[in-house]
């Protein structure tokens, strides 16, 4: 884990006490678990006396029972403490991450697919759980158990201890060899797992395409490819070390340990070095010396995986946030200025170059141009989805970067082509921008956006959940988005092809709604249907990222340029009735 301020490590602080407590209790429980072995040995000593002392025998049994109680209690309380700490910790981490997501630049999401994001947010946090709740107690047991057993045995007879452990060096050699080969591959596995998630996401979201284009039957289809990658990674990670590790574990398995303990013991007895009864502790405790080795040796792999996960979470937490101004400026009015704005999605390939324009308060400005010219990019910049590389964007005289989120989105609202509805009730979708809006306001907005009737036809009306019991067609979703913008009621409005999917009938309705929506606002209107923008106060023409023309419809038609070409093409598409365009 990196040591920065907001990292996971600092988040562990509030639960550290409980974790320490859990570890201590686990250690106590582990030591107590050895008591049974000790009890048998004591019992044997007692029974082998010529004169058996019954009281002493029962004292030993009582000792074993007492140790048992200690162990059970310590273990239960320890487990409780650890998991309690872990649950709180996870909630804290998830909250922190969610809050972080709300503040990172949107470009951060664009640079990752949702599978990667999901892995960081869900899988990785779950993996950290292992670190907190299991790795520590397991490791504690794995260390305390052999160490205390070893101490006991050495006290009994150090020579026999050494002899019992003859196989250990062999194991150590093999284990070091496996560790060296294994650890490098962890990242590769993580990558392969993300690949599978991505394939599943594509499968679900792109299923129509997969079906229509026969991806399912093709040996090279993407899902199968992800599986193959995963299998190869899996075999490559685990395969080579398998024979080594299987041999290593066989060497310290219970059978092997019993063999070395009894063999050493028998030989020692035959040589007269020890009494037969002295062999007993070794037969009993010998296994305790190596049993936790499995944990210790598996531990680092799981531990490394969890650590890598923790690092990824930490990385997310360390992402630079969109800087929020210390004090938010407040826009004087709804005037929008773009000044020498240059911006692109990839370094060295700007999608907008040196774009400058002004939207006067209360005017409608149309943004037109061929596909890929940068219209949506301009709209996204005004909504501050990204910050420009160069230049500045101001609303009411204040740079967008000097507005905090609340002030910004109180001023700017939008309707995009992708309606962007969330899995929530229709009512909540409409009141997203004004959570305190009453049902009447929601209804009024829906009526204005001409989607009220469709909504009331849904099984649960306004309470129907989008994507669950409200499956909306393209045009329907768009009208809900318009209702949302209506309700948000911001003075600056950005419309990006807000009517692309709307049929003539509802288009008329929506145009009525839009007319209501734009009244008195400063509007930036991205449109392909040129006839809708002929009366705009100002038309901006973008081509390949540059602002090439500006003016009113009439002005722009006077010279041979991009706009006139677009207009002529639109005219040619014109219809026999002539009523349009």
């Amino acid at each position: 884990m990196t040591g920065h301020q907001d990292g996971l490590r600092s988040m562990l602080r509030p639960v550290r006490g409980r974790i320490t407590g859990g570890v201590v209790l686990q250690a106590v429980a582990t030591v107590a678990s050895l008591a049974t072995f000790v009890a048998i040995h004591l019992l044997a000593l007692e029974l082998l006396r010529p004169e058996v002392d019954r009281g002493a025998v029962w004292a030993v049994v009582a000792f074993a029972a007492g140790a048992l109680v200690v162990r059970l209690v310590a273990q239960a309380v320890g487990y409780q403490l650890m998991h309690d700490a872990d649950i709180d910790f996870q909630l804290a981490v998830r909250r922190r991450v969610a809050a972080k997501l709300g503040r990172v630049p949107l470009g951060w999401f664009g640079a990752r697919n949702s599978a990667t994001v999901k892995k960081a947010l869900a899988d990785d946090i779950e993996a950290v759980h292992y670190l907190v709740a299991h790795a520590l107690p397991d490791l504690t047991a794995a260390v305390v158990m052999p160490v205390s057993a070893l101490l006991l045995l050495v006290v009994f007879d150090w020579r026999l201890t050494l002899a019992t452990l003859v196989l250990l060096p062999l194991f150590a050699v093999l284990f070091v060899a496996t560790g060296r080969r294994g650890s490098r591959q962890g990242e590769r596995m993580a990558g392969a797992v993300a690949g599978i998630t991505r394939a599943v996401v594509e499968f679900v979201q792109g299923i129509a395409v997969i079906k229509a284009f026969g991806g399912r039957d093709r040996a090279d289809n993407r899902f199968h490819r992800a599986i193959d990658d995963y299998m190869v990674a899996f075999s490559a990670v685990k395969g080579p070390i398998l024979k080594l590790s299987a041999t290593a574990y066989a060497l310290v398995s219970p059978a092997a340990m019993l063999l070395s303990a009894t063999a050493a013991g028998t030989v020692f007895v035959a040589l007269g070095l020890v009494r037969p009864i002295d062999v007993l502790p070794f037969v009993l405790l010998g296994l305790a010396l190596t049993a936790p080795l499995v944990v210790i040796t598996y531990g680092p792999q799981a531990f490394a995986a969890a650590r890598a996960a923790a690092e990824r979470v930490d990385e997310v937490l360390a992402t630079a946030e969109l800087p929020e101004p210390p004090v938010s400026g407040s826009p004087a009015d709804s005037r929008v200025e773009f000044e020498h704005v240059t911006f692109g999605y990839q370094e060295g390939a700007p999608s907008l170059r040196d774009v400058g324009f002004v939207l006067e308060p209360g005017t409608v400005t149309a943004l037109v141009g061929p596909s890929g010219a940068g219209k949506s990019t301009t709209a996204a910049l005004l909504s501050r989805f990204f910050d420009p590389w160069e230049g500045s964007i101001r609303v009411g005289g204040v740079d967008l970067r000097d507005l905090d989120a609340a002030a910004l989105y109180a001023s700017v609202s939008f309707v995009f082509q992708d309606a962007g509805l969330v899995t929530a009730s229709i009512a909540d979708n409409i009141r997203l921008g004004r959570p305190d809006a009453g049902d009447d306001d929601v209804r009024a907005a829906a009526v204005a956006a001409r989607c009220h009737d469709r909504i009331t036809a849904l099984p649960r009306g306004y309470d129907s959940v989008v994507g669950e019991d409200a499956q909306l067609s393209g045009g329907e979703a768009q009208r809900v988005a318009i209702a949302r913008a209506l309700l948000a009621d911001a003075p600056v409005l950005v419309l990006d092809e807000a009517t692309a999917f709307v049929d003539p009938e509802s288009e008329a309705a929506i145009y009525d709604a839009l007319s209501a929506l734009v009244a008195g606002r400063t509007v930036l209107f991205v449109a392909h249907r040129l006839h809708t923008v002929t009366e705009a106060d100002q038309i901006l023409v973008l081509d390949a990222g540059t602002l090439v023309e500006r003016g009113t419809h009439a002005e722009l038609l006077t010279h041979d340029g991009v706009y006139r070409r677009l207009w002529q093409a639109a005219e040619q598409q014109g219809t026999p009735t002539g009523g349009r365009r």
Binding site: G110, I210, V283, D428, E497, V518
Partner: protein
């Protein structure tokens, strides 16, 4: 559990799985034998019979070596089985998903499914690599020990045997309780994964409307839900978890106490009792491992059940003897359809009758939500009709083989979805073995050539997840090129120019005309200009085709179509203007 596993993975791996299990059993029993041999060995030692001790030691050594070999063999087999089973399971899952009706995907929760596909299948792998072995050992070794002990002295063996039902009951009870809370926690995790995923994907909208605070609260709600589910699990589990471990320890103490009692009354054979006491410990150790294994076993079982649930969803039924279509004429005969789970019992399409002639342009118009997109889905057989039939080339789509069906239709969807990768990869998806000339031709027809000329990375431009790194019009043109490249007899264009500027739109309209000669075209457009030239226009409204004919014919009667036009004229007069 085993049968379940084989069922889920597919019987192809059954032999391998059985072999692995046999090796595991072999290991468990020979380990038990090693433990049992401790008794005569220790007894001989304690009695001072060194020669006998050496003989027993030799026997134990042989058994231990056999056990070691068995361990090695089962570990290797376990790994190979794990790899093979995981691969088989994934492939099965993938193929099955590909066969499911589209409706299933509309309802699926992405978060839960991805979790199942990654964590879930991973856990199935773990079964073979790390679970089956210890699990069988935890049962078979103690049983071997029990039998061995009975051979030496039936009395402690009896005491030990008496604990078995108690242990079994404790195990069952605790696993049941744990499983219940597991399901609870699992559901909570699935919910919060879904919400997180959406929270990430919808950031722009969420931020723009109130900084997403309301939604952040909604997210927090499920996070807290998950936290509480965890809490509940912890509360209920603490007893259940402790129970089994406690029962094992108690049993050991009990058997030891009985042994001590017996030894006190029967001092003659103290060495044997001591040796048997050691055996008691060896009996208990593998059993107590069961407690921890039980947890993993539960998770795996739950996952298997989830995988099974998916595998049990019936796929779109395939014809036993597929028929080959003759031509590409499409007929819709009395088509009735509504989406499964739709709230009203009204059919969305209620008796649609129409003919879409081969090698012509047919336009489908109708108000938003009238079912135009749905009709195209039925033609591509993404769903099955409730009654009536959809025929292509005279053959009901349900009687076409999956391969024929896929080959017949090339759709351009209203909602374009591109796969993460390059423009070239996405276009080539249409026909992977297409020549470079064909690709260039499709690109020209769909105006993708303009895109690859303009963008710095050209054909290698990455399109982003779903196509998000392209502009709306670029995305649409790439999907059009994909469909054109496919050269399917039937091409469906659903709002294929909705996101295009007029110059590109004009070019695409030309392309549509050019395509008309060589395939059956079904065009959905809200811009009636695209519709005017169609050979035939179908007007869909209220669940059926209200009017059909050419533009001239339809304009001649006072019907829906003409009303569309006048509406359009009214709208045509609309201008966005201030004030």
């Amino acid at each position: 559990m085993l049968r379940e596993l084989i069922r889920v993975i597919g019987s192809g791996e059954a032999r391998r799985i059985r072999l692995h299990l046999a090796a595991v059993l072999w290991h468990a029993v020979s380990q038990g034998v090693v433990f049992v041999l401790l008794v005569p060995l220790l007894r001989a030692l304690l009695r001072g019979e060194t020669d006998a001790a050496l003989r027993w030691l030799a026997a134990l050594a042989v058994a231990a070596v056999v056990t070691g070999v068995a361990y090695y063999v089962q570990a290797l087999l376990g790994f190979r089985t794990a790899v093979a089973a995981t691969g088989a399971l994934y492939r099965r899952l993938g193929d099955h998903l590909g066969d499911l009706p589209l409706g299933w995907f509309a309802a699926v929760r992405l978060g839960s499914l991805t979790r199942l596909a990654t964590a879930g299948v991973g856990e199935v792998t773990v079964v073979f690599a790390h679970l089956v072995g210890p699990l069988i050992t935890a049962v078979a070794t103690p049983l071997t020990v029990l039998v061995g002990m009975a051979v030496f002295d039936w009395r402690p063996a009896l005491a030990m045997a008496a604990t078995v039902p108690v242990l079994y009951a404790a195990y069952r009870w605790s696993t049941r309780v744990l499983a219940e809370t597991d399901a609870d926690v699992d559901a909570a995790i699935g919910r919060s994964n879904d919400r997180i995923l959406e929270f990430a994907q919808r950031q722009s909208v969420l931020r723009a409307f109130g900084g997403g605070r309301a939604h952040q609260d909604r997210l927090d709600e499920v996070l807290v839900g998950q936290h509480e589910a965890g809490r509940r699990q912890l509360r209920r589990n603490s007893l259940a978890r402790g129970l089994f471990g406690g029962a094992v320890q108690l049993s050991v103490t009990f058997v030891l106490a009985v042994s001590a009692l017996l030894a006190l009354g029967d001092t003659a054979d103290v060495p044997q009792f001591i040796a048997l006491a050691v055996l008691v410990v060896r009996f208990a150790e593998p059993v107590s491992a069961l407690g921890d294994l039980g947890g993993s076993l539960r998770t795996v079982k739950a996952r298997l059940a989830q995988v099974r649930e998916i595998l049990d969803v019936p796929p779109l039924p395939e014809p036993g003897r597929p028929r080959t279509p003759a031509g590409s004429r499409i007929e819709l005969v009395d088509v009735r359809f509504r989406y499964p789970g739709s709230p009203t019992d009204r059919f969305l399409l209620d008796g649609v009758n129409a003919v879409i002639p081969a090698n012509g342009v047919t336009a489908l118009v109708g108000p938003s939500g009238s079912g135009k997109t749905t009709l195209t889905r039925l033609i591509a057989r993404f769903w099955d009709v409730d009654s009536g039939s959809v025929r292509i080339g005279g053959v009901d789509v349900r009687e076409l083989s999956a391969a024929d069906r896929t080959a017949l239709v090339a759709p351009v969807f209203q909602h374009v979805y591109l796969f993460e990768g390059t423009i070239a990869e996405n276009v080539r998806l249409g026909r992977p073995d297409a020549s470079d000339e064909d690709v260039a031709e499709a690109a020209r027809l769909a105006r993708v050539d303009e895109i690859v000329h303009r963008l710095p990375d050209g054909w290698d431009t990455r399109v982003g997840e779903g196509g998000a790194a392209l502009s709306g019009g670029e995305r649409q043109r790439v999907s059009l090129a994909r469909a054109i490249l496919k050269r399917a007899p039937v091409v469906i264009l659903d709002e294929a120019t909705a996101a295009l500027d007029s110059v590109n739109e004009a070019a695409i309209t030309d392309t549509v005309r050019a395509l008309a000669g060589r395939c059956t075209l079904l065009v959905i457009a809200h811009q009636l200009s695209t519709v005017v030239d169609a050979d035939r226009i179908l007007v869909l409204d209220g669940g059926c085709v209200r009017e059909s004919g050419t533009h001239q014919e339809l304009m001649a009667v006072d019907g829906l179509y003409r009303r569309f036009w006048s509406e359009r004229d009214r709208v045509g007069g609309w201008r966005l203007k201030s004030g």
